[in-house]
């Protein structure tokens, strides 16, 4: 069961490299705190999932690198090759010269259609190398032009061309105080488009990762490299094979096959009011997944996660909570735990971005840069409407 990764833009490619490196380093560990047989099964599964083997036995990442300017891809390819342990496949990258100018419209309406065939061909080649395809993992940022605009376009194409495969987008939420001035526009356009074509959006906020580096890891001069490594570590602990007693292949569970999309049952009363007597200590969740790795996983007590107070009233915790336990340790940590959650956690950030974009939109600032390439005011309005609906839906949980 293999996952094909698509790395888009500077952010996507920089992170993608760190992810594969983290996956490889973890898999390469001979010391897994489990039996040799378990370790070998784990390694084999990881290898099949994320790497393909080239003629001389070297592992090549199952990934496509896409960027509209060459510097980052060149750097990424050479970093991987330099490590000597794994690399990117030859001809696995698509590159142009001019960049997208931080313009979502340019990424989506100009680069997208122009390079559609080349990019989809590259993806097809990588898919053909897989015995069986679990799905796609798309890494992109929301703030720039390529990751956001071209990313939205490619995801749409993947939905059309591979309608039976799962698609998960790893999105990087930009810092609140600007990396790019038009980041709020780019973000709402990206989110509204991905909403319609992606199966799940896994979000990492730069502000949050930055805080982790500062407070939990005590790094003094935090670089993007540091942040990307933290991210890669988190992703690795979620995506590495997890043990499942069913079936003969114990590490076959598809990490992308998470039931993220849950619709409220029909026949509920109008969801206009939030009950005032509900204590709002936790964000209300509709799905939680805990992944435990390492020592003593079988005896871990997860009762706290089954508390109905964590979940919305129309869900039974039994249906909403899942736990995957694997004895094989991750990245030399004796014990590690990861939580993937579909909850109200992101509502505040989403609301903030929509608000800022709305204020800017009202003054019509920068709109001419988008209409130049075919994204009109109606497209903006549609995005705003859709996202307000998402915010409202989550608030009403």
């Amino acid at each position: 069961m293999s996952i094909v990764t698509v790395q888009l833009g500077q952010c996507g490619n920089q992170i993608g490299f760190e992810v594969f490196d983290a996956l490889f380093s973890d898999s390469d560990c001979s010391q897994g705190l489990c039996s040799k047989r378990e370790n070998e099964a784990y390694q084999a599964s990881c290898k099949e999932r994320f790497f393909s083997e080239e003629e001389n036995g070297v592992l090549a990442a199952r990934a496509i690198l896409v960027d509209m300017e060459p510097k980052v891809i060149n750097q990424t390819l050479s970093k991987a090759a330099q490590s000597g342990r794994w690399k990117y496949a030859r001809h696995a990258c698509f590159c142009q010269k001019q960049g997208s100018g931080n313009n979502w419209a340019y990424g989506y309406s100009v680069h997208g259609p122009k390079h559609e065939e080349s990019i989809m061909n590259l993806i097809q080649k990588e898919v053909e190398k897989c015995d069986s395809l679990s799905g796609f993992f798309i890494i992109m940022s929301m703030a720039g032009g390529t990751g956001s605009g071209l990313g939205a376009f490619v995801t749409q194409n993947l939905r059309d061309q591979y309608s039976n495969s799962l698609k998960m987008n790893q999105i990087i939420w930009p810092y609140g105080t600007g990396e790019v001035i038009v980041q709020n526009y780019n973000s709402i356009l990206t989110l509204s488009h991905l909403y319609r074509s992606s199966d799940a959006l896994l979000v990492h906020e730069n502000d949050a990762v930055h805080k982790i580096c500062a407070k939990l890891m005590n790094i003094k001069q935090i670089s993007f490299g540091d942040m990307n490594q933290v991210l890669a570590h988190q992703l690795g602990s979620v995506f590495q094979p997890t043990y499942s007693a069913e079936g003969s292949f114990h590490y076959r569970r598809n990490p992308l096959g998470i039931d993220w999309q849950i619709r409220p049952p029909s026949g509920l009363p109008a969801l206009g009011k939030i009950p005032l007597n509900k204590e709002l200590h936790f964000n209300t969740s509709i799905a939680n997944l805990v992944i435990l790795r390492g020592k003593d996983v079988q005896s871990a007590d997860l009762g706290g996660f089954k508390d109905p107070a964590l979940y919305t009233s129309w869900l039974d915790p039994v249906n909403a909570f899942n736990v995957w336990k694997t004895q094989r340790a991750f990245s030399k940590y004796e014990k590690s735990a990861a939580l993937v959650s579909n909850s109200q956690f992101l509502v505040k950030s989403l609301d903030t971005i929509v608000g800022k974009a709305w204020n800017m939109f009202a003054s019509k600032a920068y709109i001419h840069q988008y209409t130049k390439f075919g994204i009109e005011e109606e497209d903006f309005l549609y995005s705003f409407t859709l996202l307000e609906q998402v915010v409202a839906s989550y608030c009403n949980l």
């Binding site: 920089q14 510097k71 010269k97 313009n103 032009g145 670089s223 800017m360 003054s363 409407t385 409202a392």
Partner: protein, 424 residues
């Protein structure tokens, strides 16, 4: 990677341009130790096999043979260009990429624009086309000229107009931007149109150096690698919220002159503070007292994202941003520092502090225009009419009015606009 072509017009434009090419060569020499012609160098230089006669000599890869600047040198008198061609940079310029005349424009915009414009139109278009053909992927034209003289201003603006015409025809330029570096300090020093410019060599060298460095730093993140790249088209995307408000204010720290080799390394945070101080601005203005529409910080050297964030948080409270762009920052990190420094910062802002400059310009203009002083020099040129003057003033007034409207919003409290309501 894309290429850029530099068009240097007039005495000022060429002197600054010359300074720029010198610095560019130094910078690439410092970074490129192996002498291989790479994509970074190709953004401003062609690699030519000088043994080949004619146009076929372009070498796209391999060792550096002979570097030729992607430049077109234009001046209506020969002195400055000749000096460049006899100086240490003579081999850097392609002798075919020159347009010169003998008589000069006499500090007369009309002569530069109408007379020399029509005289040299074909040649100009030809040289531009040639320079574009030498590029794999041309992204940007840089036009360096002054506003005060005759050639730089008149022929310079004619050049700009011609570019508009050909841009639509050349397929290469899908998304191109033209950045014009106008030397404000110089034109202010020599006062309004019509005055006689003295050729001061020494003081201008330092100024030219600053402007040349500005151009270099502007393009550094596009040429060299970094953890957060910024291309030239991102500058126009992020810093121009409305098409007519495309005037940018810049500041550069640390400021260096040709003589300053042993400048002690400034503390990192001091570099950021300086960039927003009145003294480091490259026009006479204080952006802190005016309204920011957008601000870009281009950092070079060993600076990481946390340093950038810390300084933005620190400086934000003292700066006023327009209500719809409270967090209007565009940032970039380039790992290659400039020659001789461990780090540097170029701040580009779209700020209403340009308004006083325009207001003063209009006042000085009106003082002359009311008296009809020097007017006959312009009107006697074929194609020039009084309407040219009145149109120019009204366009300037409209611009000032736009800035006035924005300034009026300065002290108003920021209010969030009512959002769309969704029926569930």
């Amino acid at each position: 990677m894309t290429q850029s072509v530099v068009l240097q017009v007039g005495q000022c434009g060429n002197q600054i341009g010359c300074c720029f090419w010198d610095l560019a060569l130094r910078e690439h020499a410092a970074v490129n130790q192996k002498g291989i012609y790479d994509e970074a160098i190709s953004s401003f230089f062609r690699n030519v096999d000088t043994r080949v006669v004619g146009d076929g000599g372009n070498i796209s890869k391999g060792k550096i043979c002979s570097l030729k600047a992607r430049a077109v040198l234009i001046d209506m008198e020969e002195g400055v260009v000749n000096e460049i061609l006899q100086g240490p940079l003579r081999d850097v310029f392609d002798s075919k990429q020159l347009i010169t005349d003998i008589s000069g424009s006499g500090n007369n915009w009309a002569v530069g624009h109408k007379v020399f414009g029509s005289l040299y139109r074909e040649q100009i278009l030809e040289k531009l086309r040639k320079s574009a053909e030498h590029c794999d992927c041309l992204q940007c034209f840089f036009i360096i000229h002054s506003m005060g003289g005759g050639t730089g201003s008149g022929l310079g603006t004619f050049l700009l107009k011609s570019l508009f015409d050909i841009i639509s025809k050349i397929d290469l330029m899908v998304n191109s931007g033209k950045l014009g570096t106008t030397v404000k300090p110089r034109s202010l020093v020599t006062s309004s149109t019509g005055s006689f410019k003295k050729r001061h060599k020494k003081p201008f060298d330092a100024m030219n150096n600053i402007v040349a460095n500005l151009l270099l730093n502007l393009t550094s993140s596009a040429r060299f690698e970094g953890s957060l790249n910024m291309d030239l088209n991102e500058i126009s995307m992020n810093l121009v919220p409305f098409p007519q408000l495309h005037y940018l204010v810049s500041s550069l720290t640390p400021l260096y002159t040709l003589a300053d080799v042993n400048v002690p390394p400034r503390r990192l945070d001091q570099m950021f503070s300086d960039a927003f101080s009145k003294d480091h601005q490259l026009i006479q203005a204080n952006p802190k007292h005016s309204l920011y529409l957008a601000c870009a910080l281009m950092v070079r050297g060993n600076v990481q994202i946390s340093d950038l964030r810390r300084n933005i948080e620190r400086l934000k409270p003292s700066l006023q941003f327009v209500s719809w762009n409270q967090e209007g920052w565009k940032t970039s990190l380039c790992s290659v520092p400039p020659v001789g420094h461990s780090h540097s910062l170029l701040a580009l802002a779209n700020n209403t502090c340009v308004k006083p400059t325009f207001v003063e310009l209009r006042e000085r203009f009106m003082r002359l225009y009311k008296k009809k002083a020097h007017l006959h020099h312009y009107l006697q040129v074929e194609g020039m009419e009084e309407s040219c003057f009145t149109e120019a003033v009204s366009s300037l007034s409209a611009l000032i009015q736009e800035y006035n409207q924005l300034d009026a919003t300065k002290s108003m409290p920021v209010q969030d606009l009512p959002r769309l309501r969704i029926a569930m």
